[in-house]
């Protein structure tokens, strides 16, 4: 995947279940809609993929003639191979059903700033132990990196910090900043409020608004007491 994100959804999307479907949909599209070819080309170039008539992603030398577009749940991936490499990678033809965002994710999962460029398999092993397993549903890290889907909500806990690079790649972030459940998120809600208050406090101190700062300090104390009591 060359570590490149392709946000653009091409107009060639056709929900095909077999390679043939997707390929033919693509071919039809190519003939019918020159306008979109142009459009796709421009967008691709903006991502440095090298225009529409690109080289094979596998060997990088022969021109790509096989373009596979797979959409799973609105998440689309595109890959481009030359005939030779497509044949060599037989699984892309026979097991197309498994080919999709998971491959993109697999690329992201194997991207770790710590190990990138280090050709030391042992080091890679230690950072990425594919045998790590979710104790609840039994999904291994290796399986996850293949399917790109978690098995249950506990996978997040069991894979833990290992997921940080992945989330950073996808979202540019690792921490949730949004809504907290009303009923079950009670404590978390208070904590988040506390965080926000502390930030506000710093701001007021910086701008020398000490009266406001004092007000916020009192609210922080009250909240901290509340947390203490509920422990």
């Amino acid at each position: 995947m060359n570590g490149k994100k392709n946000f653009y959804r091409s107009p060639f999307e056709e929900a095909g279940s077999s390679l043939e479907d997707v390929f033919h949909a693509y071919q039809d599209e190519k003939l019918r809609s020159l306008y979109f070819l142009k459009q796709l080309k421009t967008v691709k170039q903006s991502f440095g993929i090298g225009g529409f008539f690109m080289n094979c992603e596998e060997c990088g030398t022969r021109p790509a003639t096989l373009h596979v577009t797979k959409i799973i749940n609105g998440e689309k991936t595109e890959t481009h191979f030359c005939e030779q490499c497509a044949k060599d990678k037989g699984q892309f033809i026979s097991g197309l059903g498994n080919f999709g965002i998971n491959n993109l994710l697999a690329g992201l999962l194997n991207f770790d700033p710590m190990t990138k460029g280090v050709n030391n398999p042992q080091l890679q092993q230690s950072t990425f132990s594919p045998a790590t397993r979710c104790e609840t549903c039994g999904l291994t890290y290796a399986q996850f990196s293949k399917s790109g889907r978690f098995g249950c909500s506990d996978c997040y806990t069991h894979f833990g910090e290992k997921l940080d690079p992945l989330f950073r790649r996808i979202h540019g972030n690792t921490h949730h900043m949004g809504k907290v459940p009303e009923r079950t998120g009670g404590q978390i809600k208070v904590k988040k409020e506390l965080q926000q208050l502390k930030m506000a406090l710093q701001q007021h101190i910086a701008t020398e608004e000490f009266e406001k700062a004092a007000e916020i300090r009192d609210r922080i104390r009250a909240l901290e007491q509340k947390i203490e009591q509920s422990k």
Partner: protein, 357 residues
Amino acid sequence: MSLQRFVEHPWTHWMKGEGPDSDIVISTRLRIARNLRHHPFPLLATDSQAEEVVRKVEEVNQSASMKKKGQFELLRMEELQPLEKKVLVEKHLISPNLAEESRKGAVILSEDEAISVLINEEDHLRIQVFLPGFQLKEAWDIGSKIDDVFEKQLNYAFDEKRGYLTSCPTNVGTGIRSSIMLHLPALVMTQQINRILQATTQVGLVVRGLYGEGSEAVGNLFQLSNQVTLGMSEGDIITNLYSVASQIIVQEREAREYLREHNQISLEDRIYRSYGILTHARTIESKEAAQRLSDVRLGIDLGYFPTCNPFVVNELLVSTQPGFLQYDAGQKLTVDQRDERRARVIRERLISPSEIS
């Protein structure tokens, strides 16, 4: 209220043709992904585990707090005919994935079809709100309230650090995907669309075709949605999309004005020519229909067809889709038969546009 109602009429809430900026923003869609703690995600769940989720969700659906939100009905995918499912997909009430690939998949639909809750799609719950026009914040407010009703009675999978946990890592955090459907004929005609699409991809937004999940951009309709779900609040995600979309709307209006001033004759010719074809053709392919309907819609927005309602064009977007044509015919149709029927439906609808069923 019954299944019949949902599948017989092409019109649905989002296509009303009203709401802010509805000359350019056809509709606003927002979906919220949620999962239940202690239940494997649908992809890994056994049939009985998946059934358990449907049962729990249905319990909430029958509860008093849900009743307060309006009338809702649960439809199970396994009890629907393939064509019925196709119609629901074409109306955007369910996703193609739920229709075809889910096990024990179901949907809860509100009476006005503005809210649909997909059960056992990729996530246990996907709360979807569909509104006409440009109403991102309104959609989030409605969706969030429905979310609260479910949260009161179900144990959500939520993590302090990661937020709402989802099957796919691309949805984790807020779990929201907000999108708007934009009609941008003038930006396409003035060839500015490339530049604009490029810019949107660079600010973390995604552009795709009308039928989001795996579709192409036909009829100058583009769907714009957020990509990032983690590390931003729902408000920020929505504001981000809102401000980018507002810019595009301004650009489209300017492009329309430009065309009107500098290319009036060719613009009018294009619009009236398409109108002529749509009102007289005896057979028409879906792609041509979509393009011609786009021209007519632009004509309506520019005031060329005072008797024509934008609602009619929105409705035709759905009623000329293969699934709906076949459901309406009561049988499977060949491509040629569909093209013929499509031409007739459009003709009849455009010639007598005033009656809204």
